[in-house]
């Protein structure tokens, strides 16, 4: 990845559209369609401490490859998932989008954005917020996610059960 590439001059619109589309799928609980946005080697990572360097040598809230993502989604669709009875309703807001790195030759980009997710379930509403980074790979006219990393501002706090991806 060439940090010196003129990422700032890149048209933000396709990336913005992609991130909004992703958020829409999550809010609609279309988890399989959401998973299809990820590359075969894609991963979804929510670190458990600020500035976590690696998902391998310490605990993370989420670190799903495609296989674990599929197990997670099989469960989300299972009729007896108690922690989603009733299901969560979520509203994602994505903003402050910046294409931070671009390698036009390889067709890979790192896009930073701020995410706020409000979740309502079972008479209680709560807020998740943080900065997220999508490593995207160009795929035809669209993109596939190589890695989505969400750094929650309260990542190292104690959480009540989290059932849906952020």
């Amino acid at each position: 990845m060439n940090a010196a590439s003129p990422a700032g001059t890149i048209d933000r619109a396709p990336f913005e559209y992609f991130l909004i589309h992703e958020a829409t799928l999550l809010d609609a609980r279309r988890f399989r369609d959401w998973m299809a946005l990820f590359a075969e080697d894609g991963s979804y990572w929510v670190p458990a401490v600020p500035d976590q360097e690696s998902p391998f040598n310490q605990a993370s809230l989420f670190y799903d490859d495609r296989e674990l993502m599929k197990t997670r989604i099989d469960r989300l669709e299972h009729p007896r998932i108690h922690v989603q009875t009733p299901p969560s309703r979520t509203a994602h807001l994505i903003g402050n989008i910046i294409v931070e790195q671009a390698d036009a030759e390889k067709g890979e980009f790192i896009v930073g954005s701020t995410v706020i997710m409000v979740e309502y379930r079972d008479e209680a509403q709560r807020v998740f917020a943080g900065r997220q980074h999508h490593r995207l790979r160009r795929d035809g006219s669209g993109f596939r996610i190589v890695q989505k990393r969400v750094d929650l501002i309260n990542c190292d706090s104690a959480f009540e059960a989290i059932a849906v991806p952020i």
């Binding site: 391998f56 040598n57 809230l61 469960r75 299972h78 922690v83 959480f159």
Partner: protein, 433 residues
């Protein structure tokens, strides 16, 4: 109840049932803080969390904020995290390193053994001012076994050896898996919190009865759970699909009690001959090299599933971790899950275990979250005073002695372990401080 009359407390526990007030009555909770968490041996932390002098972690024992730290002489200290001057919590990070512990308010500073070292403007101190008497208060008693540090805030009571002795085998079972014979709790933690009483989590760790129904969402069409252990090709058979019955491997699992509220469950039958991966095979090789083939074979034959060291700590043998339960209020509890790093094991093996724990026992896991939902719903139901009793009678009268293990044995789908926990609970609660 405010006075904690012994008669009244004793009425809350009967042979096969407990009164809902043990979960829902704030006065009972107050008494638990005093009589159980104020004096029982509680797990504090592991020596690997404070490897060097000046390293510390902070936690709470019941209502009391404490520091566990390493002093210059190598000893591990458990100190009350409360300035002896005007009361502020002295250390406020969950972990860190400091040569001196300095209070933010007036700058009193304490050594890593709690000794008061200096106070600003000492000439203002009163006549009888005695620095030696104003250190951070020490836990009354501290005990350690293979790095596991426990403390009791009461000067008297059963000895560390009497309390932990029968559970040393459970600690050994975990620690001996490390080729170097040592483990470390230094690979992060998961923390979750729920609106329910602390005992709901304590009772759950040895409860094999709930698995097929409570964790139905983790079981595939063939009745098999997802693989939860590094190197396993598939998970445990939980449900027999044809008859929709609980699989025999779960029904036959045993549980054991040894007094003091402690207990464990025998291992889930997995197809262990088939457990293999590059990481696991390398681990087996290293372990055999270090401890010999015969001992390695013993260590690799799973014996324990979960263990409970009453009242606040559990060791899980399948998705290896150490779990600490911390009551916050009668209806609010925080739990910390420490992944375990087995020293001497290949990095890839430890990494595999850490990753699987993310999906089994984190706040966002596939397994733990359904348990949390059950705890929350239990707390909601137990608010009702129209029905007083909670039934814990499964297997009552079917307990049998296990002379080889010096324990009492029952089926893990029975509720013997819960009854044993309430026996210990009553033992603490009946005795005025």
């Amino acid at each position: 109840m405010r006075n904690g009359q012994t008669d009244e407390i004793a009425k809350l526990v009967e042979p096969g049932r407990v009164h809902r007030r043990v979960y829902a009555d704030p006065d009972v909770f107050e008494l638990e803080m005093e009589r159980i968490f104020g004096r029982a041996w509680l797990f504090v932390g592991h020596t690997s969390q404070v490897p060097n002098p000046g390293d510390y972690i902070t936690t709470d024992l019941g209502r009391h904020p404490v520091i566990m730290c390493r002093h210059r002489d190598g000893s591990v200290q458990v100190l009350l995290n409360r300035c002896s001057h005007r009361g502020p919590k002295v250390l406020n990070e969950r972990k860190g390193h400091a040569a001196r512990f300095v209070c933010c308010y007036h700058g009193w500073s304490f050594d890593t053994d709690g000794r008061l070292v200096a106070v600003p403007v000492p000439e203002g101190c009163g006549e009888g001012f005695n620095k030696d008497a104003l250190g951070l208060r020490r836990a009354a008693r501290v005990g350690e076994y293979r790095g596991f540090v426990f403390a009791s805030l009461a000067a008297s009571g059963s000895s560390f050896e009497d309390h932990i002795g029968p559970m040393k085998g459970s600690i050994d079972d975990l620690v001996d898996r490390a080729p170097d014979g040592e483990l470390a709790l230094d690979v992060g933690m998961h923390r979750y919190i729920y609106n329910g009483n602390w005992k709901l989590q304590v009772e759950n760790v040895l409860d094999s009865y709930h698995v097929p129904f409570g964790h139905a969402s983790t079981v595939n069409k063939d009745g098999v759970q997802f693989a939860r252990r590094e190197g396993d090709q598939k998970g445990a058979a939980v449900i027999e699909t044809k008859k929709q019955q609980t699989s025999s491997s779960w029904k036959d699992r045993k549980s054991y009690i040894v007094g003091n509220g402690h207990g464990w469950t025998s291992n889930t039958t997995l197809d262990d001959g088939k457990r293999s991966s590059a990481a696991f095979d390398e681990y087996k090789r290293v372990l055999s090299e270090k401890v010999g083939a015969a001992r390695a074979a013993e260590v690799l034959t799973p014996r324990l599933h979960n263990s409970l060291i009453y009242p606040n700590m559990s060791i899980m043998g399948l998705n290896i971790h150490v779990r600490v339960i911390r009551p916050l209020a009668v209806d609010r509890t925080e739990v910390t899950i420490y992944p375990v790093r087995l020293l001497g094991a290949p990095e890839s093996m430890n990494f595999g275990n850490i990753r699987l724990l993310n999906v089994t026992h984190s706040a966002s896991s596939f397994v733990q979250t359904d348990d949390l939902e059950s705890f929350i719903r239990a707390q909601k139901g137990l608010r009702s005073s129209l029905t007083d009793w909670v039934d814990i009678s499964r297997g009552l009268g079917h307990e049998e002695p296990d002379r080889e293990l010096n324990a009492t044995r029952g089926l893990a789908t029975h509720e013997m372990v819960v009854r044993a926990q309430y026996k210990a609970w009553l033992g603490y609660m009946r005795e005025a401080a």
